[in-house]
Symmetry: C2
């Protein structure tokens, strides 16, 4: 398990390194939804997503000997950039395994931060295999994208900051990929305010956590062809699920279209660029999946790294 | 003339009504340009642009009798929305004259705020004629887009906030359309910090203020076919020019392409939506039109109301 103490330690580790991201607000969104809503803007976090927090917290915890060995991670997106930047700041060598079809701008960003890129096949199993081969051969330390107490504690600082800034909050809404963000956030939130409800959100096409939450065991789905690329993991982590069962109040789903409409609202009305996965939590409010009004709600914008070509398509 | 006292009074009038907008920062932009740069984010001001400040300050100053008559303004963009929202908040009837070809989203926004829309022909003279006809017929009070001390004082609160937040600033960079923003900002900035340099920026295709500043008299250009639609005024106002001559240190120009490249940087790297005009001041830094390094610089992002179709085109 992970406790709030580890999240507070992570906050200390991240002080002056990660941004304390702002809370955005839109009077129009409040009027449209009948609630008082804030958005935790992790799209303006370093590397453009919350993933930097966990990666830095984990790599900062390594021993001198582990740091000398270097780290390895696999990711097609934000985790790659998080590991790359954290490693650079901490002076650790980083290898990132990315699928061949990765978006060029994401590959470039990881490379800019000094990571060594190794390409692999498209599917998750291939990625994991290439990673563990390299790990075995070179002795790199694995930085898992979600299934690690130090990752969970790092991501949990998002929830810590929200409840510090908004102690009277009724609902905290968090997107679920592998479950690292919601696990950490729920621990921090319930510690600071036992009455706050923590709600996870997925898209319908990637509803493994939704199914798992209802079944009371981890359900693995066969595919996740959702626009929300941060939700394409097929099952949440074991540790993450344990925490979710204890601290998360519900998991709801939205359609891909709801997430896209929310992205457009963020762009047109709030002038902020949000990636599809980053719009999913807010979409649960705009699509009225909570069925509440008059509440104080914070939705986490998990990231803003949307490829400019995808953005163009979505604006059509 | 307008003095800093009127700008401080405007700040008082706008307290709890206009947003005190944040200063954005990008370490990457600092590295790229060799300066320490902040961006004053008026794209997240109410109505998505600084224009709300001046409009509200003017309409709030009207007598009971004038308020009963209602106000009129002509604009194809942000000024229309500013007048519409300010009027709504102050309980004043507003008529906005807009060219027939105005962007639908801008017309809708002004209408949403409760303004009555009157359409007119495309050119500036036609707009002005329709406006003065209606004004004469109905006794409306004109809210000029830039040539009025109360407008200038309202827009000047942008500069006031910047110098309050950044007292050590070396350069304040401001886009020029009709000159209301730079006139107000230069008065406030020089009052709070006589050593700060205030630099105006236009696009090459709308360089009337650039020419005027060099000629020492107002130069009117024949056309202004620039992507920066907030700069399509053909000459700055008389009062605005007087103030510019006293308080502005230089006027420089950038190409439309520089503004578009800057918009893309804002979108991709800083996750913020900026309209072409709003990117022009920052573009003067990225295109190295100042020729300085190691300086503390603030560029004003004047607005973020870019039409989604235009945005799509610009991303191609």
């Amino acid at each position: 398990m992970v406790s709030h103490v580890e999240i507070e330690q992570a906050a200390h580790t991240l002080r002056n390194v990660a941004h304390r991201t702002p809370l955005y607000h839109s009077s129009m969104f409040d009027r449209m939804t009948g609630n008082r809503v804030w958005f935790k803007a992790e799209n303006v976090q370093r590397i453009g997503a919350f993933k930097f927090r966990g990666a830095y917290n984990l790599i900062a915890s390594l021993s001198e000997e582990e740091r000398r060995r270097g780290v390895i991670a696999h990711s097609s997106g934000n985790h790659a950039q998080g590991v790359a930047l954290a490693s650079k700041l901490l002076g650790v060598r980083a290898v990132v395994v990315m699928p061949e079809g990765s978006v060029a701008s994401k590959v470039d960003a990881a490379r800019e931060y000094g990571a060594e890129i190794v390409f692999c096949g498209e599917n998750y199993d291939d990625r994991a295999r290439v990673t563990s081969d390299l790990q075995a051969k070179h002795g790199y330390v694995l930085v898992h994208p979600f299934e690690d107490p130090r990752i969970i504690a790092g991501q949990g600082t998002v929830g810590l900051e929200v409840l510090q800034d908004l102690p009277e909050l009724d609902y905290l809404i968090v997107p679920i990929g592998g479950g690292g963000l919601i696990a950490g956030c729920s621990i921090a939130a319930k510690h600071l305010s036992p009455s706050v409800k923590v709600i996870g959100v997925e898209t319908e096409k990637a509803n493994d956590a939704y199914q798992s939450f209802r079944a009371g065991r981890i359900v693995r789905i066969a595919r996740a062809d959702t626009i929300a690329d941060g939700m394409r993991t097929l099952a949440v982590g074991t540790l993450n699920f344990e925490i979710m069962q204890k601290f998360v109040d519900d998991v709801v789903v939205v359609r891909d279209e709801d997430a896209i409409a929310m992205m457009r609202f963020f762009l047109e009305r709030m002038k902020t660029v949000v990636e599809p996965t980053g719009a999913v939590a807010a979409a649960a409010i705009s699509a009225n999946r909570l069925g509440v009004s008059g509440k104080k709600i914070c939705a986490v914008i998990s990231g803003g790294n949307v490829d400019i070509h995808l953005l163009r398509t979505l604006l059509s």
